[in-house]
């Protein structure tokens, strides 16, 4: 499902912003560079053992499974916040694909 990145930005601002930001580690890790990064691997952030031990690599597909039920994908995780609606997940992922690219990375359209 192709997501709406602009709606995803609004969802991010209302649902994710308590713990996350694109460029700073807060309660949760920063999202800059998320796509293609191994779970539990943002340097400097203190992850749960479950995230550090996971072999998951973040992609649109794995993010969709994670957001639907984090505990199902990585038992022992600490996020525990899920996004039940598939359309909302698609929009959030579209936003993250747009906003969380590594600095200096030029996305080819």
């Amino acid at each position: 499902m192709a997501g709406d990145a602009e709606r995803g930005r609004v969802l991010y601002e209302s649902r994710c912003i308590a713990c996350h930001s694109i460029d700073h580690d807060r309660i949760g890790p920063r999202h800059r560079g998320l796509i293609g990064r191994k779970a539990g691997a943002a340097a400097g952030f203190e992850y749960s053992g479950a995230l550090r031990a996971s072999s998951t690599v973040w992609s649109a597909k794995t993010l969709d499974v994670w957001l639907a039920d984090p505990e199902r994908l990585i038992p022992g995780q600490r996020m525990n916040y899920s996004v039940p609606q598939a359309a909302d997940r698609a929009d959030l992922i579209a936003y993250l694909m747009r906003a969380a690219t590594p600095k200096g990375f030029i996305q080819h359209l």
């Binding site: 308590a18 700073h24 309660i27």
Partner: protein, 192 residues
């Protein structure tokens, strides 16, 4: 009125009073199982959620501290910010008491400078900037607390999250009014 209603700013500007932290904390944890019961069950996930919540409260306390110290807030807005900070201190105290009652270690508060960096506090230029940051954090916290309610094993802890969400929603509503923003036009906009 095209589906929206303006919030009277007095809702924010006339808020006053002091929080009764100890009473709130004791009331919040009254139904929480004691250490022995907690250890015999699968409460580890619940404790993890509570510690994430505590991290949120640490950040909120420090965000209001940054706002109060910035010199950008004028009375009576400053007084309300301090009041909201006291609510978050009440949440913090209640969460710490609950986590300890469950036999776990509460997550520690960071230093103020770390919160300032993470929240990009250097970009705050006026009172509206401070209120906007606070409103964004309060809305996010309300939705976060509502979002984790189904994940709790213990119904008493789920109720704790619901009560925290109610406080954050109250804060967001007052802040939105102070910023001259509209109330949500539709029902059930929080926790969706």
């Amino acid at each position: 009125m095209n589906g929206h209603a303006s919030l009277n700013r007095r809702c924010f500007l006339t808020a006053s009073g002091t929080a009764t932290l100890s009473a709130a904390a004791f009331g919040l944890i009254a139904g929480v199982p004691r250490l022995a019961a907690a250890q015999s069950g699968s409460m580890g996930r619940d404790v993890d959620i509570l510690n994430v919540a505590l991290g949120l409260e640490h950040e909120a306390i420090n965000a209001y501290q940054l706002g109060a110290q910035s010199g950008l807030l004028q009375k009576p807005v400053l007084d309300v910010a301090v009041l909201f900070q006291s609510h978050h201190k009440g949440h913090r105290d209640a969460l710490i008491a609950t986590i300890e009652k469950l036999g776990a270690r509460p997550v520690a508060e960071k230093v103020l400078a770390e919160y300032a960096r993470a929240l990009n506090a250097g970009s705050l230029k006026n009172q509206s900037d401070v209120l906007d940051l606070a409103a964004r954090l309060e809305l996010g916290a309300a939705n976060a607390y509502l979002g984790v309610i189904p994940a709790f094993k213990d119904a008493n802890l789920a109720k704790v999250a619901a009560r925290l969400a109610a406080d954050e929603t109250m804060h967001w509503t007052a802040l939105a009014g102070a910023l001259g923003r509209h109330l949500p036009g539709g029902a059930l906009t929080f926790g969706a």
